[in-house]
């Protein structure tokens, strides 16, 4: 449970630091008038959607941290036998990096109002990401062919679980991506999709980070 406790400590620590910056030590009865509002001075995330996404990512991190905690605890037990790591995972990692890079490019392009670049990079994002998911399925197929079934060892089960869960989150992202892409194709102003693209960018970078952590953990154990 160390992983999740550390994560929670980090979250609680951040929350307390943030609250402290919000002047939770002040005596609210001592000051009257609207000027007591100091939100402008201390800087904050600019939009509700971004705040919402940050909290969502905290929730997802909590999920993965718990699975990782469970993984380490379960690994200690005697019946553990490490799973084979298909080579294709390296290629997949590369694909996800490319996907993440493409959406990053896209958000830059959206900022500079470059429609053509937005279209191309959005398309590339989808292509790389779908290929990544297909590659993960190939990895599953290879494992299955080699006899590493889901229920034959907990190490296998965790592998399927981690990769499956990660892919599901990507699919969720692709849903937002597809809506954004459709809107771009329908010819809406770039300004209107800029926020969506930025949210996608954060989400893709985040899931790339999660994958690197998971992949590193799987490789090293």
């Amino acid at each position: 449970m160390i992983t999740i406790v550390l994560f929670i400590f980090a979250m609680v620590g951040f929350a307390y630091w943030w609250l402290w910056r919000q002047r939770v030590l002040e005596k609210p009865w001592a000051e009257v008038g609207p000027k007591a509002d100091t939100r402008e001075e201390i800087g904050r995330i600019s939009s509700a959607a971004k705040t919402g996404l940050m909290f969502f990512l905290a929730v997802v991190t909590s999920v993965f941290a718990l699975f990782i905690s469970a993984y380490f605890l379960r690994m200690e037990l005697p019946d553990w036998s490490p799973v084979m790591k298909p080579e294709v995972l390296w290629i997949n990692t590369g694909l996800l990096v490319l996907g993440s890079g493409a959406i990053h490019w896209c958000s830059k392009a959206a900022a500079s109002n470059n429609l053509r670049a937005v279209q191309v990079s959005l398309f590339a994002t989808g292509l790389f990401t779908f290929t990544f998911i297909y590659g993960q399925l190939m990895a599953w197929g290879q494992l299955n062919d080699e006899g590493y079934y889901l229920n034959s060892n907990p190490a296998n089960a965790f592998f399927y679980l981690f990769t499956g869960l990660h892919a599901l989150h990507l699919l969720g992202g692709l849903w937002v991506w597809s809506r954004t892409t459709l809107r771009v194709l329908a010819g809406v102003e770039l300004e209107e999709v800029r926020l969506s693209v930025e949210l996608c960018r954060t989400y893709w970078h985040y899931l790339l980070g999660v994958w690197i952590v998971l992949f590193g953990m799987l490789l090293s154990t």
Partner: protein, 580 residues
Amino acid sequence: MAHVALADRGQALSHPHSFITKYVWSQDHKVIAIQYGITAIAVGVVALVLSGIMRLQLGFPDTFSFIQPSEYYQFVTMHGMIMVIYLLTALFLGGFGNYLIPLMVGARDMVFPYLNMLSYWVYLLSVIILMSSFFVTGGPTGAGWTLYPPQAIMFGTPGAEWGIILMLLSLFVFIIAFTMGGLNYVTTVLQARTRGMTLMRMPLSVWGIFTATVLGLLAFPALLVSAIMMTLDRVLGTSFFMPAMVSMGEQTNYDGGSPVLFQHLFWFFGHPEVYIVALPAFGIVSDLLSTHARKNIFGYRMMVWAIVGIGGLSFIVWAHHMYVSGMNPYFGFFFATTTLIIAVPTAIKVYNWVLTLWRGNIHLNTPMLFAIGFIFTFIHGGLTGIFLGNVVVDLPLSDTYFVVAHFHMVMGVSPILVVFGAIYHWYPKITGKMFDATLGKAHFWLTFLGTYSIYLPMHYLGFLGVPRRYFAYEGIDFIPQSALDLNTAITISALFVAVVQIIFFYNMIWSLFKGKQAGSNPWGATTLEWQTPDTPPIHGNWGPELPVVHRWAYDYSVPGAEEDFIPQNVPESEVDKAAS
């Protein structure tokens, strides 16, 4: 000012007019709150009936053919799960959170109204999945609300066929619904507060609900993770939690898993869950006490720090539910210490509630009675919690009726008293009508005294050593007939309390049609929800202008002011000075 622009998006709100869009597929936080509230209370009534049936078996064993052991365990399980998750969590956050947050922070709605609507419908789906388990082969699961594997998914436990799968699925769906709602509540508090509404000017209700939501967002994943892994164990035969074992004399294919791992995950969710229910209750009761005592909440800063302090601590006490679980016994030292430390901020909250009454001007209105009743039951439940948190004292008491009595006192009766108090308190705002105070008070007295007569004696069964989750008790040497007679008495009280809730429902419905017009601020409260131009507030909550907050939420009986309360949106220049 970016946040004001964001909050004041009156133009963007659609104002639907057909019945369907107004009351069914509504994106108005107030309608969603009422949908959440009614669904939660309806499912709570089901759970109440189930508990009545359980009590019938315990009070009158050998009497009712329709209560078989399997049904008894199924009803115990469903009662517990419904009450904790589908009633209390949904009602406090989905119900009160939805209604109060935008109104109290001066927003027009939640920041993601569509997601908010979706949250309710997904919650309803989880309820439907849960209820459907009553109608499948084998019935609902009877594994106890803690759903401990291996027993929860093995033959020999009722509902191991489909009940457990539906339970896990329903929890999964519930967590999705909660996450959608929860992201809304926290983001609204952070992003949509009106001008002047600093964090430290927020009413404690908002603090409680906000902190509880953050806890929920971080803790529910633990339940999600354990539900996913248990589902895989059950359906696909993995061995996350399932050790090598024999079932009914037959070898199984499971190997090597750890049931204790499940318990760690479950309680990593389960303990914060206690505070997910308790913190909103703490916050709401603070506002009720302050309003009806016409006095500021005593030690507001301490109260806020206690809420966030309890919130943080609640993540490192989970294993106090596991002292006798077979985990490494050395953990006991750590968790007993953290658990007793959490008693300190909790005690401070109690002192501050009582000190809010001190030198107040106490109006014993119905909500106030419930608030005072809450303090009493919460003191009782909190103190018995110290018994169970102190690791050696837990040894004789764990898994006995002492535990049952304790958590019903602290997590059942206390939050429910707050729920009732809160419903009476905000009923005039929600409906525009005043409830019948005589019936309200009668409801309080019968509920308050009735529940205490259920749970006080129950602790003593626990001291004696009477184990919980037993269908029948005959043939145990140390349990005398008098203890079984006491069970009968408890059952009679329990059925009585269940029946008198009819008064509440009658009052709510009758007053809706026949109640007197309440006016916009019948209690003379300071917080923003009482300052809306319309009562009940219309979609969008405020008139053309959002309110601007000039002061904290507790300016009651300010020296020199004419009235004994100054609403948060009244500037200093408009305060009527008393003629002096």
